[in-house]
Symmetry: C2
Subunit: 414 residues, 2 copies
C-alpha cells in the first residue's frame, strides 16, 4: 500500500478505479440529471409534415406576389387534422399554428397581415415561398442521433425524448453509497450528549453531499470501536457501489476499520494524502469489482467534507457516468496574506466577494478541522499548493467554488 500521496496522485488512483456503472431503464420523469447510457436515435421525423408557424392563412405564394390580393377561404385546417383536399389557385385556407399546411400551399400569411371578410380574405403582404412554414424534418430526421451517450438529461433533453414518443430511457445507475460512522463517543442527533459525547454529524453531511449529485446514501449507523460491530455493519454495505467510512483511520489504538476491511477482502491502495485538512484518508477496492470502492475519511467534520469533495465526489460522478467531475474553479484575489509550512496542499475555507471585476477571497476564520462552522460559511476552497509557504494579499489564487448561489448572477442581464 502506498502512503503519503499528493492530492493529484490520490485523485488519479481513485478516478482510475471509478468506471461508469451499468445501465438501467427508467421512466423519463426519473431521468432528470442522469447520464444517458446509450445514444438516442430518433424513430420519427419532427415535425412529421410541413406545418404552420403562425396563426393565419395558407396560400400559394404566387397568388399573392403583388399584394393586396383577395383569395377565397375554402376551408380551415383543423389542429390535429388534415385539409380535406389540396389548395387550388386563388384559394386560401384558414390555418392555426402547428396545423399541417395543405398540399398546394407553399406559404403562410400571418393573420395580422390580412383582412377577413366573410369567406374571402384580403392578403396585404407578399410572403416568400416557404414563409412561416416549418418544414417536415426541420427539427429531427428519422434515424438521426439526437442525444449522445453520456449526455446529462436536463429539461430540454427530456422534452426531446417526449417529442420522440419515448416514455422511458436507458441511463447509468445511481451510485449506491453506504455511509458508516464510528466511535464510542458518537451519538445520533437526538442522542444524549452528556459526558463528552458528540453528535455524529458526518453521516448527515455526507448523505446530503451524496444526494446533491444524485447518489443514494444508505446509512449503516455508528459502529462501536470493536471489530465485530464494525464487521457486521461493513458487511451490510458490501452490495453498494461505494462505501464511505468516517470511522477512525488514524494511527490511534482503536482503529479496527482497516483491519476489518482487509479481512473482508478489500485491497487498500493508499493511505495518507498530503493535504490539510484531511491527511488520514484511505482508499481501497475489491478485486474484480467484487465489492464497493472504499473510502476511509478522517473523522473530523471539516476533514471529512473536504476529502469527500476532493476524492469521493468526483468518483461518484464518474460512477454515475457523468463527464463533468469537478467543481467550478475561479481565479480570486487574496484578501489577506496566508502562510504555512511546505509539504501539504491546504484547502483554505474562504468567503468570496465580488469587488469590481475581481473576486476577493478571505478566510472564514478558524481553520481548525473540527470547526464545521467554517464550512457552513465557506463559499469556496482556496488551493494553497503543497510546496508554497506564503500567498500574499493581492495575489491571485485558484478557488474551487462550493456555493452554487455564488455563481448565480445578480440579475438576468436583460
Amino acid at each position: 500500500m502506498r502512503e503519503g500521496l499528493s492530492v493529484s496522485e490520490a485523485q488519479a488512483i481513485v478516478l482510475e478505479a471509478a468506471s461508469p456503472l451499468g445501465a438501467e431503464t427508467v421512466p423519463c420523469a426519473d431521468g432528470l440529471g442522469r447520464a444517458l447510457a446509450e445514444p438516442v436515435v430518433s424513430g420519427r421525423t419532427l415535425p412529421p409534415e410541413d406545418n404552420s408557424a403562425m396563426d393565419g392563412y395558407a396560400v400559394r405564394a404566387a397568388d399573392v406576389a403583388r399584394p393586396p390580393a383577395t383569395l377565397s377561404v375554402v376551408f380551415e385546417v383543423p389542429a390535429g387534422g388534415h385539409a380535406p383536399r389540396p389548395l387550388e389557385p386563388g384559394e386560401a385556407a384558414r390555418i392555426l399554428t402547428g396545423a399541417p399546411v395543405p398540399l398546394g400551399a407553399d406559404a403562410v400569411v400571418r393573420q395580422e397581415d390580412t383582412e377577413r371578410d366573410g369567406d374571402r380574405v384580403r392578403v396585404l403582404v407578399a410572403p416568400a415561398p416557404g414563409e412561416h412554414v416549418r418544414a417536415a424534418g426541420e427539427d429531427v430526421e428519422r434515424g438521426e442521433t439526437v442525444l449522445e451517450a453520456g449526455a446529462r438529461l436536463g429539461p430540454a433533453q427530456l422534452g426531446m425524448l417526449a417529442s420522440l414518443g419515448r416514455t422511458s430511457v436507458a441511463v447509468r445507475r445511481r451510485p449506491q453509497v453506504a455511509l458508516l460512522s464510528g466511535g464510542d463517543e458518537l451519538v445520533e442527533p437526538d442522542g444524549d450528549v452528556s459526558g463528552g459525547r458528540i453528535v455524529s454529524s458526518n453521516s448527515y453531511t455526507l448523505a446530503a453531499a451524496c444526494r446533491e449529485i444524485g447518489a443514494e446514501p444508505h446509512y449503516l449507523g455508528i459502529a462501536r470501536d470493536e471489530p465485530a460491530d464494525i464487521e457486521r455493519r461493513l458487511r451490510a454495505g458490501l452490495r453498494c457501489d461505494a462505501l464511505v467510512s468516517s470511522a477512525g483511520v488514524s494511527v490511534g489504538d482503536h482503529d479496527h476499520v482497516r483491519g476489518v476491511l482487509e479481512k473482508l477482502g478489500c485491497r487498500l491502495l493508499f493511505w495518507g494524502v498530503k493535504m490539510k485538512p484531511g491527511y488520514p484518508f484511505v482508499f481501497g477496492r475489491f478485486d474484480d469489482g467484487a465489492g464497493p470502492l472504499v473510502f476511509g475519511l478522517p473523522g473530523n467534520p471539516v476533514s471529512a467534507l473536504v476529502t469527500f469533495e476532493q476524492l469521493v465526489r468526483p468518483a461518484l460522478l464518474a460512477l454515475a457516468g457523468h463527464r463533468a467531475l469537478h467543481r467550478p474553479r475561479i481565479t480570486a484575489t487574496l484578501g489577506e496574506t496566508l502562510t504555512k509550512k511546505a509539504g501539504r496542499l491546504h484547502f483554505v475555507r474562504v468567503r468570496l466577494e465580488r469587488e469590481g471585476h475581481e473576486v476577493v477571497a478571505r478566510t472564514t476564520g478558524n481553520q481548525s478541522s473540527g470547526v464545521l462552522r467554517s464550512m457552513t460559511e465557506a463559499q469556496g476552497l482556496l488551493i494553497f499548493p503543497a510546496e508554497a509557504t506564503r500567498l500574499a494579499e493581492g495575489e491571485p489564487a485558484q478557488v474551487q467554488v462550493l456555493d452554487p448561489d455564488f455563481l448565480a448572477s445578480a440579475g438576468s442581464g436583460v
Copy 2:
C-alpha cells in the same frame, strides 16, 4: 392590462408578485437545497468541553518544557467518557482524538512525538500550552446564531444542524406548480401521432425545469380547445402556488384560456413581452393571494422553455425563499456575426467553447422556435439587446449559462 413590455419590465412585475411562501417544518434529511425560514440559534456549546485534536498524550505543558521528558501514564481517557481524576504534575494521560482533556492537563502531544515504554511515556517535543487542544465553544457558543434566515441548506449546513441536535428544520414551502397543456393537436408521448398530431412535450420539459429547482410539478393534462374542458382543468390547479399553461395565448381563434382565467377571477397584469422567442406571454394573479400566480406561455417548445427561464424560474425561486434567482452569466466572444431587427430582445441559443482565456459563443443553428433540438444543444442563451441590430464576430456579449456542466472545471486544480 399592459401590453408589449420589455423583458426587464415583465420580470420586475413578476418578481414583485412572487413573495416567499410560508414555512413548514421538515425532517432535516428533506431540507437539502431549501431556504431556511428562520435563523438557527444554537442551544449547545460546540465542542462542549476542551478536547483533543490528536491521538497522543494529554500533559501539563510545564512538565515537558525541556524535552525529552518522561512521564507516568496514569490512565486513558475513553472516547465518549471522562478522566477518572485530574492530572497531577509528572503525569500523562493516553488520549484519542475527540476525547475530553483531563483537568490539570493543558496540552496534547501527538503520538508520533512520543515513545511509549510500559506505563511510562517519553515526550520528545515541547508542546505550547493549548497545543492540539480544541477549546470548548471553539466551533459554536450556546445562543449564537449559526445560520441566517434565507440561507440555502447544503451539506455543511445540514451537518451543523445535526451537530446541534436538530432533527427537523423550518424551511420555506416548495412551490407547487400546476402545468397545463392545451390544443386539439396534442397527444401524450405514448399517443398516436398520425394525422398531424404531435406530442405535448412542454409539460415534460417544464416539469423537469420545475424539479431541477426544487419546485413540485402537478400535471393537469392536455386541455381540448373548448372552455369547459379548460375550466375544469384550470380549477384543479387553483390550489397550487403557480399555474403554468402552455396552451395557446396567441391571437388565434381557439384561445379560450385567457377568457377562462378571467372568469375564474384571475387579473391579467400584462400580455406580450418584447422578446424572441416568446412574445405571446401572459401573466396574471388573483387579488389577495386567493389563487396561484398565473403564467401563460407560448406553445412552441423553445418559446415555452425560454420564457420559463426568464419569467417563471426566477419567480419560483423567489417563492421558495431563495435569494439567488438568476442563472450564472458570463461574457463570451461572438464566434459569428448576428443581425436582427430592432424592437425585441433575442435570446440566441448558443454553444460555448473555451478557447484560451476566452469563451466563444456560436449559435446552435436553426433558431426557429419550433426546433427543440436547438435547445438540447444550447449551453447558453446569448442576450441580443432589444434595440441592437448587429453583433459582430469577435465582439463581447452576455450569455446566460444553462448547462451546469459548462461551469464545471476540467480538473480539480490540485
